[in-house]
């Protein structure tokens, strides 16, 4: 007998612990994706229980089904069009009174419903009591109490979902005032199969002036229900959140605490992941790559395929994969901060500053994430409701300097600015922030003239997040990243590799298509001091990711000058042993770096071959090197950022932004080149 499928929608207010609850049910089968056409995150999971396959869909956290924001539109559309078999209405029990408005609206669909009174333990502490039996009887729905973090009540919830489905238990009808009910009755005669939700929609289309009446009726029902089933005990304990907020949101200490937390986050993410990034790099380049080359040669694959494999697949996709530890650590810490309730508080702290550039405090969150990696930062703009604010923030993020740019800066600084490395690198970060603010001001003047829309947001209480949920969400994001690396980045790597290797039989990169484009580009870059084709050609593959500029410079300079790398003989056993030792060392480094106060992985290291450095020293001077760095900083040469941007603001918008960032990069480089050339004579 085939198993029965049940489509279950999770609906509730924001921050009520829906994801934690879903995670407790689904474990690692939780998938993070996007709702079609929009950028609101979609979480879903498929779980088999007995004779049933339960497909859970986590709807965005919403306050009402009266659609105002993108989130609410998605939830309504899902309920109207996809018609779930069961709705699980997750309620944050301490705030049950407010939550019952959404419950009332959900009941209008007459879909079998289970109410999960979540955070039941917290409700007990703050003195909120709910008469579960009465709630269940009054509404004709299953009611279970849950504590998502500990998994308490989860089994009962799943059982209730299956029961609600198999018994086809539709909730009792919600009854509003006689005036509204009479009108709905008339409409239902024309359309007897329509749900109450549909009928009200129809009614408001015909008689929009009834909107307030319907709204008040819904409130009255929810309020009456609360009066019947909720009892507040007077003995509410002292609130830890209020006490913490007095320190964390203090007018004087709030900002230093915020800077401290951001510093610690970056330190942990960079220093903990950096040894693993290096290890992965070594593992791919010194073990996997030579091993697979040996195998390919042994199987007598043609030479061009072997080169394609090592250069496009290992060099392109492999390179991006080495960043997994960094991305994973950042996601882990950000998810932790988000679930603990701290991140929303930054909005309160930074509102005054952000308002000066025409944005709300809320917009500062993605900007901070941008220093870690622009890609998840742009993804994080989905929490901004207003499309205008979102556009402004997306246009600012690419100027937040990420660690990939730091790789290029460190390399040039170690050749041309040995005396002031920290000053030059800090200057790069400051120039980036300056350009971001400049861009926001321009955009506000030119494109989006109206002021920021109203700003209301809920601050959840502080909670220690469930570590299991934090890990699951991090893993879901890493999976998504790996998927992109395997598809999009792989495709782009092939294109760049072809450009460097066509026409067929080309030996020197200067004769390839890429070399020819590079030579043509010299005319564009000459005014900013970058006047040789090897440097301009290295910018072409750098569009995949900025740090590739250095590795491709290596390839181009080496082959143009006729220098060949020495290839060591590959010994499987020795190489495997070395990788094991390296992994142990990396783990030790990761943990020991956490003991120091500074960010160890950001200190300038001189790793590159001296050969390449001396070749580059001949072709550049401090002024043109600075030009190159500014170019890498400002021009959005990162396929990941471009891809996520085109998803958020459309392909045309992303291309226009690319053009803008190129123009700003060129002008800034021109100014700095001329200034520095004059200063150094």
């Amino acid at each position: 007998m085939s198993k029965k499928k049940i489509k279950v929608a999770f609906a509730g207010n924001p921050n009520v612990g829906k994801t934690t609850l879903l995670n407790a049910i689904a474990g690692t089968s939780l998938k993070v994706g996007n709702w079609p056409g929009v950028t609101v995150e979609k979480r879903e999971a498929i779980v088999e229980v007995g004779d049933y396959i339960l497909h859970f869909v986590d709807l965005p956290g919403i306050y009402t089904l009266d659609p105002l924001s993108e989130d609410e539109k998605i939830a309504v559309k899902f309920l109207e069009e996809e018609k779930p078999d069961v709705i699980v209405n997750v309620i944050e029990t301490p705030s049950i009174e407010r939550a019952l408005l959404l419950t009332t609206e959900l009941l209008e669909f007459r879909i079998p419903t289970v109410i999960a009174l979540n955070m039941w333990d917290e409700a007990q502490k703050v003195g909120v009591e709910v008469d579960i039996k009465k709630l269940s009887e009054l509404l004709g729905v299953e009611v279970v109490t849950t504590v998502g973090k500990s998994g308490k009540g989860v089994k009962e919830l799943v059982e209730a979902v299956i029961r609600a489905f198999s018994e086809g238990k539709t909730p009792k009808e919600v009854r509003y005032s006689a005036e509204v009910e009479d009108l709905l009755k008339e409409l239902s005669q024309k359309n007897p199969t329509a749900t109450k939700h549909d009928l009200i929609k129809e009614l408001l289309r015909e008689k929009p002036d009834l909107y307030e009446k319907v709204r008040d009726d819904r409130f009255a029902f929810a309020h009456g229900l609360a009066k019947e089933v909720v009892r507040l005990r007077g003995d509410q304990g002292r609130d830890l959140t209020d006490a913490l907020d007095k320190i964390v949101l203090h007018p004087l200490f709030g900002i230093p605490i915020f800077i401290g937390i951001i510093y610690i986050t970056f330190k942990l993410a960079f220093d903990f992941s950096s040894p693993f990034v290096d290890w992965l790099d070594g593992f791919i380049n010194d073990f996997l790559s030579p091993l697979s080359l040996e195998v390919l040669k042994a199987l007598s694959f043609p030479e061009w395929f072997v080169r394609f494999f090592s250069e496009a697949l290992v060099g392109g996709v492999g390179f991006v994969i080495t960043f997994v530890p960094l991305i994973g650590s950042l996601y882990f810490l950000i998810t932790f901060l988000e679930m603990s309730g701290y991140i929303p508080r930054v909005a309160f702290l930074m509102d005054r500053f952000m308002h000066k550039i025409g944005l709300h405090g809320k917009s500062v969150i993605p900007l901070i994430l941008g220093f870690g990696c622009n890609v998840p930062a742009i993804v994080a703009t989905r929490t901004i409701e207003n499309p205008r604010d979102k556009l402004l923030v997306i246009a600012m993020i690419p100027f937040m300097s990420c660690p990939a740019r730091l790789v290029v800066f460190s390399f040039f600084v170690s050749i041309f600015f040995r005396e002031n490395p920290a000053l030059v690198i800090t200057a790069m970060y400051v120039i980036g922030i300056f350009i971001a603010v400049f861009t926001a001001l321009i955009l506000r003047k030119v494109l989006v003239k109206e002021g920021p829309l109203h700003f209301v947001m809920e601050l959840p209480p502080y909670r220690f997040p469930s570590m299991k949920t934090v890990f699951t969400i991090t893993w879901a994001h890493v999976k998504d990243f790996l998927y992109r690396a395997g598809t999009l980045i792989f495709g782009a790597s092939i294109v760049v590799w072809l450009l460097l290797n066509l026409p067929p039989g080309v030996k020197n990169p200067s004769e390839s298509i890429a070399g020819k484009i590079g030579k043509a580009l010299v005319h564009v870059f000459e005014p900013v001091g970058i006047d040789n084709w090897k440097a301009t050609t290295s910018l072409i593959p750098a569009f995949l990711a900025r740090e590739i500029a250095i590795s491709s410079m290596g390839t181009i300079y080496m082959s143009a000058e006729g220098i060949t790398e020495e290839v060591e003989e590959f010994n499987f056993k020795r190489a495997l042993f070395n990788q094991g030792v390296n992994l142990l060392n990396a783990t030790e480094d990761a943990f020991s770096s956490l003991l120091s106060l500074g960010i160890v992985s950001l200190e300038v290291e001189e790793e590159q071959e001296e050969d390449l450095k001396s070749l580059i020293a001949k072709d550049f001077n401090p002024a043109s090197a600075l030009s190159f760095m500014i170019f890498i900083l400002i021009y959005t040469s990162c396929l990941g950022t471009f891809a996520v941007m085109s998803r958020e603001i459309g392909l045309k918008g992303a291309i226009a932004f690319l053009g803008y960032s190129f123009a700003v990069a060129w002008i800034t480089a021109l100014i700095s080149y001329n200034l520095l050339s004059r200063l150094t004579g």
Partner: protein
């Protein structure tokens, strides 16, 4: 008097909403701000106000606050 006239620590009761745009009103209502609800101003930071009602906390900015009419308990 609107809610932004209150200082941290002061309690209030919502009397009504003055000249609020439709979208703002809908949002405030859905988030639990209704006539007759009691609450307390917890903190102020420049343009932003942190208020607490029942068991939830909201940040509202000056523009929104200017539409919320309250009485001192």
């Amino acid at each position: 008097m609107n809610i932004s006239a209150l200082s941290p620590g002061e309690e209030f009761m919502i009397k009504g909403f003055a000249n609020a745009k439709d979208g703002v009103m809908k949002r405030l209502h859905a988030m639990g701000l209704r006539e007759g609800r009691r609450g307390k101003v917890l903190l102020k930071n420049g343009r932003a106000l942190l208020i607490k009602l029942d068991n939830f906390r909201l940040i509202i900015d000056e523009d929104v606050a200017s539409h919320i009419e309250v009485s001192n308990n």
